[in-house]
């Protein structure tokens, strides 16, 4: 069985002060740490679990600049078989469907039983690439999967719906699934794995010309309209004010 996993390297912005750069269309990235997209880490784990259970090969693919190879190496250190990087030169400002087109061009002529993507990217928050890629390749898909069960010629998935429900579906193989966070426990790479991955070759591929149907006009920091009363002072002073408030609210 041949499994492919699409991985994205994203800036880690959870605790960072995000600033817009001079182009007005991107953020200032030089001070930000980067990491594997959270949902992709769960997607990778799902593929590695399938590899162990069904003795599959797992091929990683990422669209990005050279540093994206970090996430590919990390994935190989955890047990993936091979990796490819599609260079993102000329892709600036492309939308997610154009990106799915770039991936689809790489997948054409290759034969995978299962393509696994993260359900959503933490930077653009789009949730588009997996299902769009499936459609471009003429494959069925399931988005927001938290449980994946590979059977003969098909997969049974549980898709997470709002409000505590799961949509249980069957898909014919080959297919594309996008994995939502929380369905497994992503492993850490071992020191041995990291050493072995460092020596492996990464296939270098060029991107086809992107075909964006939408254009990014600008990005900006929203005005946070906060009506909140902020408690100021030292930690001690703030805690005292909060304790008094909690007493007023009947929590003490």
């Amino acid at each position: 069985m041949e499994i492919a996993v699409c991985l994205k390297r994203v800036p880690d912005t959870a605790e960072a002060d995000v600033k817009v750069d001079a182009t007005g269309k991107d953020i200032v990235r030089d001070k930000l740490a980067s990491t594997i997209n959270e949902a992709d880490n769960y997607a990778l784990e799902e593929a590695l679990l399938a590899k162990e259970k069904h003795s599959a090969n797992v091929t990683l693919v990422s669209v990005g600049s050279q540093p994206s190879e970090e996430v590919l190496r990390m994935g190989m250190a955890k047990g993936a078989t091979a990796a490819a990087r599609i260079d993102d030169a000329g892709l600036g400002g492309s939308d997610s469907i154009a990106l799915a087109g770039v991936l689809a061009a790489w997948f054409k002529g290759k034969s995978f039983d299962l393509i696994v993507c993260g359900a959503i990217a933490s930077d653009d928050g789009n949730s588009q690439v997996g299902p769009a890629l499936a459609e471009l390749l003429g494959l069925p898909h399931a988005a927001y999967v938290t449980k994946l069960d590979i059977q003969a010629g098909k997969v049974v998935v549980k898709r997470e719906l709002e409000g505590g429900f799961l949509d249980v579906k069957e898909l014919a193989l080959p297919c594309v699934v996008t994995i939502q966070t929380g369905g497994n426990t992503p492993r850490y790479a071992s020191i041995m794995g990291i050493k072995r991955a460092g020596a492996k070759a990464i296939e270098q591929a060029a991107s086809v010309k992107p075909d964006s149907r939408t254009q990014l006009v600008r990005v900006y920091v929203p005005q946070v309209v906060s009506a909140a009363q902020m408690f100021e002072g030292t930690t001690d002073e703030k805690a005292t004010k909060l304790a008094t408030l909690l007493k007023e609210k009947g929590a003490v």
């Binding site: 579906k169 006009v217 909060l242």
Partner: protein, 323 residues
């Protein structure tokens, strides 16, 4: 502008709120440009939903049949491709929900249309539409232009306020054709996530913890704090994903919606999926070390500080006040 199609999202016999939010937004978009709003209902035996939609739209296109008994993106997509070819709408609105996300991107590819997901605002532009959406978990907004029609717009849930309307849209019964042939996916069942008995929706005081808690070894600190103030401990999604608390205490769009008297958010950034589940609390207090965290936009009281420093001091102060 021609028409705006709004895909009705329903589950287990009930129309989901986001449908009325989209219909309201669609009316505001269409009215100034002389466009019409058409609600599109795919379902099996959903006639009872029609009156509620007729008052909200200029037309209700209703395709009925067993193929639409349960949501399946494949049959929905095939039907919409046919409908769009016939009706030539300016835009198709779909919820940015779990159903909508399974459908929107592949539909846009099949229509060769521009797509913007998670839209929070949109207006008609000279050609096509201008659409705003969040990025970086709400730290940025991005404006996109969709130059061609139809535009496919996936609309964020709980973002637009649904408004009443008194239209009387005619119901057009429409034949979707053979939407199941060649299907490669099959709906099996709808399952409810099992629970173990903690019901955070009944609690008066809730302490919500987020990724700012950092490590499992810090859990006792917040557990004891919650106990001391008579609160139930709840969490944002990453804490549940990490397995530190059970799924049933997750607050947000894929967890529970709660309306306690008091909600205390500790180390939670305030992603819209989280806010959707707790914005109805009477009083919201947020502790976060990032002054720009979006949680402060819904909080009534805020402290910018390290929760690991604030909570121990706070516990001492509370003990002093209580004695």
């Amino acid at each position: 502008m021609s028409s705006i199609l709004v895909l009705v999202e329903h589950r287990q016999g009930a129309i989901r709120d986001v449908t009325f939010e989209m219909l309201t937004a669609a009316r505001k978009l269409a009215a100034p440009a002389g466009g019409k709003v058409e609600a599109v209902l795919f379902g099996d035996g959903c006639d009872a939903m029609l009156p509620g939609l007729q008052s909200q739209a200029d037309r209700v296109v209703y395709a009925a049949g067993p193929a639409f008994k349960d949501f399946n993106y494949e049959s929905y997509q095939k039907a919409l491709v046919k409908l769009v070819a016939e009706r030539k709408p300016s835009a198709v609105l779909i919820a940015n929900s779990a159903f909508g996300t399974d459908l929107g991107p592949s539909l846009a590819v099949a229509l060769n249309a521009g797509l913007v997901s998670d839209a929070v605002a949109f207006t008609k532009a000279d050609s096509g539409f201008s659409v705003s959406r969040g990025m970086y978990a709400g730290k940025l907004v991005a404006d996109w232009s969709v130059g061609s029609e139809p535009a496919v717009i996936m609309v964020r849930q709980s973002n637009f306020k649904p408004e009443p309307a008194s239209l009387s849209g005619e119901v057009v019964r429409w034949e979707a054709g053979d939407v199941v042939s060649g299907g490669k996916t099959k709906f099996l069942s709808l399952e409810e996530v099992p629970t173990t008995g903690i019901d955070i929706t009944k609690a008066t005081i809730v302490v919500g913890i987020g990724r700012g808690i950092k490590e499992a070894k810090n859990m006792p600190l917040v557990q004891e704090f919650a106990k001391e103030i008579g609160a139930v401990l709840a969490a944002s999604r990453p804490v549940v994903d990490a397995g530190w608390l059970p799924k049933e205490v997750q607050v947000g769009s894929s967890g529970k919606t709660i309306k306690p008297k008091l909600y205390i958010a500790l180390g939670i950034s305030g992603a819209f999926q989280h806010i959707a589940g707790m914005k109805g609390a009477d009083t919201i207090i947020a502790v976060n070390k990032d002054p720009k965290a979006p949680i402060f936009s819904v909080a009534h009281y805020g402290i910018v500080d390290d929760l690991h420093k604030v909570i121990p001091v706070l516990r001492t102060k509370i003990k002093e006040l209580a004695s």
